[in-house]
């Protein structure tokens, strides 16, 4: 590339595009916004796959051992009927894909990449090349994970938690290479997430625009910053665990195999030491997204900005000392169990602070029920239900009763679907205009949101009931158990609702692609929001801003501020009168 005639100020795009070519612009891009889009497409593609796997699982539970429509061509030997091993594989991969390749890429990967530089007033991430490596490492891990479906013996089938010794000895699940590939993929994914989080943390600490003090950062950036720190410290523990598991399976080591002096329970400790912070890795960005969207559409400052930031920091600290609540039935010392009960209940306090602050933000606001706002409100309300059922299970005696039942399945889905996925939808609708330069269609948005909200609840709320009724998670056929037969109608109801929930995503897909190519062109600041990304063009060019970076004069939530004639006062707008700026 010998061109010396290119000019600065971002006007070189015409000449630049011809020289760069497709590959450098769209595939091996170093631009944080393109990388964000790549993470989004990766996550959305995997979401279709993970969702279909969930429907397969649901079909088996409602109409056990009948042919699953559409699977006749894939499961030829059984003409579409799930065998127990295939069923185990389906629920294992549903969870693995949804957690590691849908929610993490969309919330942390996509919106972390998109929001952090734009909302802090940086031209790009601190390490653009590392950023590119991060998406391609994660994408490779995803491809490797998909390869597992095609190896002999099928994919991993020991649950997404892959408890040893079930996962450590190939003959126990009958999967050999599937479980190995699961380990290898998550190992690589751990490296990719480390590259990403190092970038996030460095960018937040070192790359903020003039005036962007830590406590002027938008809360979504705070949440992503804390998420990145949790990722940095939690993922390596999983990485070490899956490495040991892989060695046990392939090299014959004895980390988790009692026959050689190993300790199966060790896996649970390693897994949940990662696993509980992971839950907050999945939910914190959605909390940040809600904190971002609620003030914009309530036209009010966020209630308790500092409390919001500090409660996220508190959650991050506490998330390290609660992991034992996943192991109440593992034979742990009751005194230790008691300690984990107490810490788990304490972690509800910062979460409750956040919830009350969201309600305080809405109180007395002039609320606009746009599609992103509806999704953010769904996040808040569903997170409350998921959080409350979490407190049930924090208590050891209750947990022992409902351990490994559909109650926990209901809880986790209220948190990661009701919480994280509604947060992701809110974020997609909210930042779509900035990300792609076009507005989404509000009618299709409503057609997506309302059925999703209704069928989400119809799908997952009855799971509490059948869980307390005794239905265990991960069972192949509930009809095999006499005491579960009387509530089989709930399983049918849940599956029908789940199918409707799947159908309800069609308007989203149509909306996404239609808006991508034919949506109305987005103005600079369609929501009249205050944060810095709305001062950049839609979509922002490479390096985000023209000649000068924006300067930040105030916090991110000055809606209906008395000193402004408008009902919003952007962070980048210089104060009218000279003098000390507001803090």
């Amino acid at each position: 590339m010998s061109s010396t005639t290119a000019t600065a100020h971002g006007h070189a795009t015409h000449a630049g595009h011809h020289e760069l070519g497709f590959v450098q612009t769209y595939i091996f891009s170093r631009d944080h916004k393109m990388i964000a889009r790549q993470f989004l497409f990766l996550g959305l593609f995997m979401m279709i796959l993970g969702g279909l796997l969930a429907l397969v699982v649901r079909w088996q539970l409602a109409w056990p051992e009948t042919a699953v429509p559409g699977l006749g061509g894939i499961l030829k030997e059984t003409s579409g009927i799930l065998e127990p091993s295939t069923y185990n594989m389906a629920f294992t991969m549903h969870a693995t894909i949804m957690i590691f390749f849908v929610i993490m890429p969309i919330l942390a990967g996509c919106f972390g990449n998109f929001c952090i530089p734009l909302m802090l007033g940086a031209r790009d991430m601190a390490f653009p090349v590392l950023n590119m490596l991060s998406i391609w490492t994660t994408a490779s891990a995803g491809v490797i994970m998909l390869v597992g479906f095609f190896v002999p013996g099928g994919h991993a089938a020991a649950g997404w938690t892959s408890y040893a010794p079930l996962s450590a000895v190939p003959s126990y699940t009958g999967t050999n290479w599937g479980q190995n590939i699961w380990c290898i993929s998550l190992f690589i994914m751990g490296i990719g997430s480390m590259m990403g989080s190092i970038n996030y943390v460095t960018t937040v600490i070192n790359m903020r625009a003039p005036g962007m003090k830590l406590f002027r950062m938008p809360l979504v950036v705070w949440s992503l910053f804390i998420t990145a720190i949790l990722l940095l410290l939690a993922m390596p523990v999983l990485t070490s665990g899956v490495a040991m598991l892989l060695f046990d399976r392939t090299l014959g080591t004895s980390w988790f195999r009692p026959s050689g002096g190993g300790e199966p329970l060790l896996w649970q400790h390693l897994f949940w030491y990662f696993g509980h912070p992971e839950v907050y890795i999945l939910i914190l960005p959605a909390m940040g997204i809600a904190s971002e969207i609620l003030p914009v559409f309530a036209r009010k400052p966020i209630f308790g900005y500092h409390a919001m930031a500090f409660s996220m920091i508190g959650i991050a600290f506490l998330s390290w000392i609660v992991y034992g609540h996943h192991m109440f039935v593992s034979g742990m010392n009751p005194a230790l169990g008691m300690a984990f009960t107490v810490t788990t209940m304490i972690i509800a306090v910062p979460s409750a602070i956040k919830t009350f602050n969201w309600l305080g933000t809405l109180w007395g606001g002039s609320i606009r029920f746009t599609v992103p706002m509806l999704n953010a409100l769904a996040f808040v309300s569903m997170f409350v239900i998921g959080g409350l059922s979490g407190i049930f299970m924090a208590s050891t005696p209750v947990d022992i009763f409902i351990q490994d039942t559909y109650f926990i399945v209901a809880h986790i889905h209220y948190v990661v679907f009701g919480g994280s996925i509604f947060g992701a939808f809110a974020a997609i609708y909210y930042w779509f205009p900035k990300m792609f330069g076009r507005m989404t269609n509000p009618l299709l948005g409503h057609l997506h949101f309302w059925p999703t909200f209704v069928f989400f609840n119809l799908t997952f709320f009855p799971m509490h009931i059948i869980g307390v009724g005794g239905q265990m998670r991960r069972i192949y056929n509930p009809m095999q158990y006499e005491f579960l037969q009387h509530q089989q109608h709930w399983n049918v109801f849940i599956t029908v609702s789940a199918l409707c929930l799947g159908v309800a995503q069609i308007p989203f897909v149509i909306n996404f692609f239609w808006s991508l190519f034919a949506g109305q062109k987005a103005p600079l600041n369609p929501w009249n929001a205050n944060t810095l990304e709305w001062s950049a063009p839609s979509p922002p060019p490479h390096l985000n801003w023209g000649a000068t970076l924006p300067t930040v004069y105030r916090g991110p939530y000055e809606y209906n501020a008395p000193e402004s004639r408008e009902d919003f006062l952007p962070q980048w707008q210089a104060p009218v009168r000279a003098g000390a700026p507001r803090h």
Binding site: L232, P236, G241, H542
Partner: protein
């Protein structure tokens, strides 16, 4: 602060061009007069990032070391009967070799501050040489242990030994690669007294890998 921090990217940087944008750290905040202004960052990006890499790696090794200790404490007899004992003397000397490489690294960074490029290159080479010597000795020890019948599949004893020591050796190997890159950068003048971050980051990682070894050595060989 200097206003250049706020200027446009230099001419020649095209949209999504080959050269990454020279994103300069600003670390926003208010200046002493309460006006918004760029603030000098506490640490260069590369060093800050290396700090977080070290934090993550610490968690990785904490996972391995604690798992090892749990198996070690849970075992009735350790080392198990009929298994070879781990060589103490040779590895103690090897520990000193690795610690010496860290000292050489400190002097290399000091030479960079003094602007003495020849000394920087020599000392970086010395640190790398000591690191490579450490790995070689380790390789011979492994070969001997395998000849004595200690393998990865000989129970928790062999499994933990080879996993832990192997994980550390892999990190020394990675650190050596990083050191080679830093050596090339220094040789080409891309790292000097005014832009020391790349070498300082490499040195931080090297010290981390060195400091990790005594912890592993004590828990695996001595405890």
């Amino acid at each position: 602060m200097s206003p250049t921090l706020l200027e446009a990217p230099p001419a020649g940087v095209r949209a999504n061009g080959r050269t990454p944008p020279p994103a300069r750290p600003t670390g926003g905040g208010d200046d002493h007069e309460g006006e918004p202004g760029p603030r000098r960052p506490v640490m260069a990006n590369a060093q800050l990032a290396t700090m977080f890499v070290i934090a993550a790696e610490t968690m990785f090794f904490a996972g391995l070391i604690f798992s090892f200790l749990i198996l070690r404490v849970g075992a009735a007899v350790w080392p198990p009967p009929l298994q070879p004992r781990l060589p103490l003397g040779m590895t103690a000397v090897n520990t000193l070799v690795l610690l010496a490489s860290s000292a050489v690294m400190v002097r290399a960074v000091r030479a960079l501050g003094a602007g003495d490029r020849a000394a920087v290159l020599a000392r970086l080479g010395g640190a790398a040489g000591l690191g490579a010597l450490f790995l070689t000795v380790q390789g011979f020890e492994w070969a001997r242990l395998i000849r004595f019948g200690l393998t990865v599949s000989s129970g928790a004893y062999g499994a933990t030994f080879y996993t832990l020591i192997g994980a550390h050796a892999a990190h020394v190997g990675f650190a050596l690669t990083w050191l080679a890159v830093a050596w090339i950068l220094a040789a080409r003048g891309r790292v000097d007294a005014r832009q020391p971050a790349a070498l300082k980051a490499c040195a931080m990682y090297w010290h981390f890998v060195v400091a990790l070894w005594p912890v592993i050595w004590v828990s695996v060989y001595l405890v």
